[in-house]
Amino acid sequence: MPRLAGTLPSVALFALLLVAWQAAVGVLGIREYLLPSPLAVARALGASDIPWLSHAWTTTVEIVGAFLLAGAVGVALGIAIAWSALLSRALVPFLVFVNTLPKVAVAPLFLLWLGYGIVPNMLIGALIGFFPVVINTAVGLSQVDEEMLDLGRVFNAPKWKVFAKIRIPNAFPYILSALKVTATAAVVGAIVGEFVASQKGLGYVIIATQGSMNTPVAFAALVWISVVGLAVYGAVVLAARWIAPWAETSN
């Protein structure tokens, strides 16, 4: 079990930190609304008055929606840019401009236009996460070994075939590594959207505790967010490994 042995140091460190945290809160007499102890957070996680699963589900749907949207739009735009120089000249400056906007600042506008609900939160996540996909797709489509393209030329293959059989598979590792970034961005977007205006979701839970000073619940929500975030990220990594086992990307 070398894998288990490999994770042992980090698990041990984590456990040690929890114990130290618990002890510090007790010894120093830190008040709960400032920094709740791990045990208090655990109690909040078990509290029956908060529908954790339902909140986590809402946030998960938003994250997955944002991820899929960002992935689809990002890949499509990347292909458009690599396909034609004209499209590239038309799209790139515009996309760069959109990317320089602080996307979080657009969140209230989305809510204004689209009202409450999961859709605006998905859109915010997608807006934050789509740009790296565009760039990596376009780069992956153009960074092709000249000799591979010669293969296409030797057989007079039409442009779309060269894209389908050579350029797009070649871009796969690039796209996959961008999608990992997008998975993280989708989490940020969903939570920010819920902060701004929402009645459900883990971000909403955190905002709601501000009034009641119920900090243990806020921490519990953070635990849930990291669980959901890790699950989404892990799913992306696994899916990538399954779809394209040859495309070994780092971290």
């Binding site: 070994d145 000799e147 591979m148 010669d150 293969l151 296409g152 030329r153 030797v154 057989f155 007079n156 293959a157 075939k161 060269v162 059989k165 050579i166 598979p169 070649n170 796969f172 394209a244 086992p245 040859w246 495309a247």
Partner: protein, 258 residues
């Protein structure tokens, strides 16, 4: 009958960031239909460049190239190209790499599966059809790329050191297989393929070729063209004959004469 491939006064100068690089100068050569011509010359003398020009993948900066009577201005059809590097697509299994030409040329790949398998058997890769290229050694990848070039049974083969990464034994075996594929046993007009074969090995050149073209260091010019009148079919014993040795020596002398 006119030559199948003609090169007349062909020159090639690459424009690079650090200035022009003259790769080829005044290459004039004819290759008959069904002929197997080997190209030898020092590294960097423009052999790969020459193959690309004949294939229509690069435009010569000077001179005229024709294949089958037509000037070459874009990639020519019905050519089997073996690049110096294997250039396998790492996301495709070996069999699917071999089938790539059928897909790119818009033919039905499933109709070529049998042939693809047979070719892989021929080069000793029958058991590796379902592997990914990264699971193969360099020499195995080269053999797979040879199968890919042969898939559509093209009448013209342009081969750039196809056996460079093989051990001596496998290389000799592959040479014999290549002669079979070429159609050494067949005679008559159009029975044999036309092959332009780049190699660094003098003995490989002599063993395979009807004629050996010796090139000078860069800029590559033709130093000498030697006929190889050794009888066919050639066998393992051919390499042990006195004529074989004498021809090899001649080529060696042409290569080192500057």
């Amino acid at each position: 009958m006119g030559d199948f491939i003609t090169l007349a006064g062909v020159g090639m100068t690459y424009a690079t960031a650090s200035g022009p690089v003259e790769a080829l100068r005044d290459i004039t050569l004819g290759v008959r239909r069904g002929e197997l011509v080997a190209l030898v010359g020092p590294s960097g003398c423009g052999k790969s460049t020459l193959l690309r020009i004949v294939a229509g993948l690069r435009r010569a900066t000077l001179g005229v190239v024709t294949v089958d009577g037509r000037p070459v201005s874009r990639p020519i059809p019905e050519v089997g190209m073996v690049f110096q590097a294997p250039v396998l697509l790492k996301w495709r299994r070996v069999l699917d790499n071999v089938l790539l030409p059928a897909e790119l040329a818009g033919r039905d790949p499933s109709a070529h599966r049998g042939r693809a398998h047979a070719l892989l058997e021929l080069v000793g890769l029958g058991e590796f059809a379902a592997k990914y290229p990264t699971e193969l050694s360099g020499g195995m990848q080269q053999r797979a790329s040879l199968c890919r070039a042969l898939l559509l049974d093209p009448p013209l083969l342009l081969m750039d050191e196809p056996f460079g990464a093989l051990d001596a034994m496998t290389r000799d075996e592959m040479n014999l297989e290549l002669l079979r594929v070429w159609g050494e046993a067949r005679t008559g007009n159009g029975a044999r393929k036309t092959i332009l074969f780049v190699t660094h090995s003098i003995s490989e050149a002599v063993f395979l070729a009807d004629r050996v073209v010796v090139m000078t260091p860069r800029p590559g010019r033709i130093a000498k063209v030697l006929d190889v009148p050794l009888p066919r079919p050639r066998t393992v014993e051919t390499r042990a004959t006195a004529d074989f040795g004498a021809l090899s020596l001649k080529i060696y002398e042409a290569l080192i004469a500057r």
